[in-house]
C-alpha cells in the first residue's frame, strides 16, 4: 500500500518562522550544554514566541494522536513501526515528551514529515485535537495516575468527551474527518468516545476496574460480566458493539477473521496496544475512508508483522547485563500499570528470579505514595524482592503488610548487586521456596526483573 505524499503545506508566517528558528536554537543549545535531549526547552521557547506554532507546523500533515493512562508510549512506537514505510518521513515525539512543547520539538525536528504520530498527555488531548486536526485518535484506557498532579479521572473523562464532541465539525470536511479508535472494554473511554462522530471500537481488555465502577454518565453502577462485557445498572451505557477484539494471542474482527498477534514485546497489555494500533493504522493512509469497514486481511497482516519486530520502547522491556546477569527493565507508573506488569511476570512464570522494585516520588511521579496500597503487591508472595528508590521505606511497609519477604537497599545499583547475589545462590531468599514448584532446570536462568516507576526507571537507565 502506498500513499501519495501531499507534503506539509507549511506556508509559515514570519512569526512562526522565527519561532521555528528559536526551537532549533533552543534544541541545539540544550543538547550542546548537555542539559537534556533538547526536546522540551526549544519547544517552550517556540510556543512563547508563537502560541499557534503547533497548528502551523501540523497544517497539511496526517496526524495520529495516542493517549491513555497506560501504554501510550508503546502504542505510539507501534504505530510508527506500522506506518514508517508508507508515510515517509514520519515525525514522532519518541522521547516521551508528550506535552505541546515536545510536540513542537518533534515536528520541527522533521521538517519534511508528511505524517506525525504523537503521544499525548491525557490532559492535553483537547488542545492537540484543536491544533492538529488529527486523522486518527487512539484512546487506550483511563485510570488513576498521580492524583496530586493531574485532574481526577472523572474530570479528565469529561474533558475528553467535550474535546471529542468538537470533532463533529471536523467530519464535515469529508475525507479529512477524524476516526477515533477506542477501547470498548473501558467504560470511561467509551463514555468519552461516544461523543465523537466516527469511532472504531476495539475490545482491548481492561486490567483495572476500580476507577470505572461509578457510571460516568449517570453515577449508577457499572456491572462487569463475563468476557469483559459491561453495562450500567441505571442507564443505557453499556459496552458498544466491537469492530474487533483481542482473544488471547489473536485479533478477531467482527466478521470472524482471526489474525495472530505475535510480538517481541511481552505481555497481554502490549498485545492490546497492538490491537488498537492495527485498527488505527489504515486510517492514516488513503485507502480507508472514515466510513468504510475496518481493514482486515492483507494490510492488517502487514501492520502486525511490522509491529512484531519492535522489541523495546524507550528502554522499557529491554534487557541489559549487570555483573554477568541479564536484567529486564520494566516501567509501571500507577496501579493499573503495576497490575499489568504482574500479569506479565505470571505469564513468563518462574518464581525463582529476584525482583527489584524501585519507587520514587519526585514531581514527575507525583509526590503522594498512597497509590502503593492500590497495587496488588500480594501477588509477589513467594518471590525474592529487593526494595529500593527514594521511597523504599514506603514500599517496605507496603510489602510487609502484603506479607512479601523483602530486603531494603538504598542505592538502586546496590539493589541490583543484592539481586545478583540472591540469584547466584549466595543467599537464599527469606521465604522458603514453594515445595510444589518444578525443580530447577539447567536452562538459561530467568532474567532479574527490575520494576521502577517513572523517575526510578529513568534514573536506573541513566546509571547503567
Amino acid at each position: 500500500m502506498t500513499v501519495t505524499p501531499v507534503g506539509p503545506s507549511r506556508n509559515l508566517t514570519a512569526r512562526a518562522t522565527a519561532a521555528v528558528d528559536a526551537v532549533k536554537v533552543g534544541n541545539w543549545l540544550s543538547r550542546t550544554l548537555g542539559r537534556g535531549s533538547g526536546t522540551v526547552v526549544g519547544g517552550r521557547v517556540g510556543l512563547a514566541i508563537d502560541p499557534t506554532l503547533l497548528a502551523s507546523l501540523a497544517r497539511g500533515m496526517r496526524v495520529a494522536l495516542v493517549t491513555g493512562t497506560n501504554g501510550k508510549t508503546t502504542a505510539t512506537r507501534l504505530l510508527v513501526a506500522s506506518l514508517a514505510c508508507d508515510l515517509v518521513p514520519l515525525a514522532s515525539n519518541d522521547t516521551g515528551a508528550n506535552m505541546p512543547a515536545g510536540h513542537v520539538a518533534a515536528l520541527v525536528a522533521s521538517p519534511r514529515a508528511v505524517g506525525a504520530v504523537l503521544e499525548v498527555d491525557e490532559s492535553y488531548l483537547g488542545q492537540l485535537i484543536e491544533a492538529t486536526a488529527p486523522r486518527v485518535v487512539i484512546l487506550l484506557n483511563l485510570s488513576r495516575d498521580q492524583l496530586d498532579r493531574i485532574a481526577e479521572v472523572r474530570m479528565l473523562v469529561d474533558r475528553w468527551r467535550t474535546a471529542l464532541g468538537h470533532l463533529g465539525q471536523a467530519s464535515d470536511r469529508g475525507e479529512d474527518g477524524t476516526v477515533v479508535v477506542a477501547n470498548a472494554d473501558d467504560p470511561m473511554v467509551v463514555w468519552a468516545a461516544m461523543a465523537a462522530p466516527c469511532v472504531r471500537w476495539v475490545g482491548a481488555g481492561q486490567v483495572w476496574h476500580d476507577d470505572a465502577v461509578g457510571c460516568p454518565a449517570c453515577g449508577g453502577r457499572i456491572e462487569f460480566g463475563s468476557g469483559g462485557a459491561w453495562a450500567c445498572d441505571r442507564c443505557e451505557l453499556a459496552r458498544p458493539e466491537r469492530d474487533a477484539w483481542l482473544d488471547d494471542r489473536q485479533l478477531v474482527s467482527a466478521d470472524g477473521v482471526r489474525q495472530a498477534v505475535d510480538l517481541e514485546l511481552p505481555g497481554r497489555f502490549n498485545r492490546a496496544n497492538a490491537a488498537m494500533v492495527a485498527l488505527a493504522a489504515p486510517f492514516m493512509l488513503d485507502e480507508d475512508e472514515p466510513g468504510s469497514r475496518p481493514a482486515s486481511g492483507r494490510y492488517l497482516d502487514t501492520v502486525l508483522s511490522r509491529m512484531a519486530h519492535v522489541d523495546q520502547v524507550a528502554g522499557r522491556f529491554s534487557s541489559t547485563t549487570w555483573k554477568g546477569w541479564e536484567v529486564r527493565l520494566l516501567l509501571a507508573k500507577n496501579p493499573a500499570g503495576w497490575t499489568a506488569i504482574f500479569d506479565l511476570l505470571d505469564e513468563v512464570g518462574a518464581h525463582d528470579a529476584p525482583v527489584v522494585l524501585s519507587i520514587n516520588a519526585r514531581t514527575a511521579d507525583g509526590l503522594d505514595t498512597s497509590w502503593l496500597w492500590d497495587v496488588p503487591f500480594e501477588r509477589l508472595v513467594g518471590r525474592s524482592v529487593v526494595a529500593t528508590g527514594d521511597r523504599r521505606l514506603d514500599l517496605a511497609v507496603r510489602l510487609r503488610y502484603a506479607e512479601v519477604a523483602h530486603t531494603v537497599v538504598s542505592d538502586p545499583l546496590a539493589a541490583l548487586d543484592r539481586a545478583v547475589e540472591m540469584h547466584a545462590g549466595c543467599d537464599s531468599p527469606r521465604v522458603p521456596s514453594d515445595p510444589s514448584a518444578a525443580p530447577p532446570t539447567l536452562a538459561r536462568p530467568r532474567p532479574i526483573e527490575f520494576l521502577g516507576n517513572y523517575t526510578a526507571f529513568a534514573d536506573l537507565r541513566r546509571r547503567l
Binding site: V213, T369, S370, W373, L393, Y401
Partner: protein, 269 residues
C-alpha cells in the same frame, strides 16, 4: 477481656471500596487486619461493596473519593442505617478525607450544594475558597484526644492530605490534633481531624494507619476490649513502620528549613 479470649473473629469492613478509596485508602483496613492477625486474633476483612446491605462489623473504615460517589455513599449509608446502629453498640468508625466529611452533619458537592452526612460526628464541611490543600501534614495530638492503652499520649500524626473542603468542629465533637505543618480542617483554628466516642476522622488520606500505627492499635484496642481502660495489645516488630515515620517527619522538617532559608534569602534582597 484480652485478645486471646475472644471467641468470635474481629470483623473489619472497608466501606464501599467501589465508591470510596481513591487514594489507596483500603490500606487502612489491611493494616488493621494484619496487625490483629499477627497478634493471633481471628480477623475477617470484608470489602463491603455498595448496592448491598452493609454487614455488621467491629470496625468500619471509610475512604476518600470524588464528589458524586461521596454523595451516593452518604445516601446509601443513611438509608441502610446499619452503621449508625453499630456505633450505638460500640463499633469503631475510622473515616478519611471524603469519608471523614460524610461522617459529619453536612458536606458539599462540586457545586457547593450541602448534602446530609451521617451525623456521627459533630462537624460541618463547606467548600474552601483557596487552593486545594495538597501535601505532607504533621500534627501533634490535641491534649484531650484519646490516649493509648496504658495512658500515654498518641505520637504526632504524619500523612498526606489532598482536599478542598473546610471543616468546622462543633461542640459535641473534639478536634483530633493541632497542625504543625499543612492545612488540616482549614477553618483557621489550626485543627486537624475530629473524634467523638469511637468515631474518628482525619483528612490524612491513603493508608494513614500505616504511618501512624499507634493510632491503628488504638482503634484495634477499642474493638477488642470495649472497657474504658483497655489492656495494651501485645507489641509487634514495628521497625519498618518506625523507619518510615522517622524518615517522613525528617523530610518535612528538612523542607521547612528550606522554606525558611528561601524566605530569608528573598527578604535580604
Amino acid at each position: 477481656m484480652s485478645p486471646g479470649d475472644r471467641n468470635s473473629a474481629l470483623t473489619i469492613a472497608i466501606v464501599f471500596p467501589d465508591l470510596l478509596g481513591t487514594y489507596g485508602d483500603g490500606g487502612n483496613g489491611i493494616v488493621l487486619a494484619r496487625r490483629a492477625a499477627w497478634r493471633g486474633m481471628g480477623v475477617e476483612l470484608v470489602q463491603a461493596g455498595s448496592g448491598r446491605p452493609l454487614p455488621s462489623a467491629d470496625i468500619y473504615c471509610i475512604g476518600g473519593g470524588e464528589d458524586g460517589p461521596q454523595v451516593r455513599a452518604a445516601t446509601s449509608l443513611n438509608e441502610d442505617g446499619t452503621m449508625a446502629r453499630a456505633v450505638e453498640q460500640g463499633a469503631v468508625v475510622f473515616g478519611v478525607c471524603a469519608g471523614y466529611q460524610l461522617l459529619g452533619r453536612s458536606f458539599p458537592d462540586s457545586t457547593d450544594r450541602a448534602h446530609d452526612g451521617l451525623g456521627l460526628l459533630d462537624i460541618t464541611t463547606r467548600k474552601g475558597t483557596g487552593p486545594r490543600a495538597v501535601g505532607e501534614l504533621v500534627a501533634t495530638m490535641a491534649p484531650d484526644a484519646p490516649h493509648q492503652a496504658g495512658g500515654a499520649a498518641l505520637p504526632r500524626l504524619t500523612g498526606f492530605e489532598n482536599h478542598g473542603g473546610v471543616t468546622s468542629v462543633g461542640p459535641s465533637a473534639r478536634a483530633l490534633a493541632r497542625v504543625v505543618r499543612g492545612v488540616g480542617n482549614g477553618g483557621g483554628d489550626g485543627t486537624e481531624g475530629a473524634w467523638s466516642g469511637r468515631v474518628v476522622g482525619t483528612y490524612l488520606h491513603g493508608p494513614v494507619l500505616a504511618r501512624n500505627i499507634a493510632l491503628a492499635d488504638l482503634l484495634l484496642g477499642w474493638a477488642v476490649d470495649p472497657s474504658d481502660s483497655p489492656e495494651p495489645l501485645p507489641p509487634l516488630d514495628d521497625s519498618e513502620e518506625t523507619a518510615l515515620r522517622t524518615e517522613r517527619l525528617r523530610a518535612v522538617e528538612r523542607s521547612d528549613r528550606g522554606h525558611v532559608v528561601s524566605r530569608l534569602f528573598r527578604a535580604g534582597r
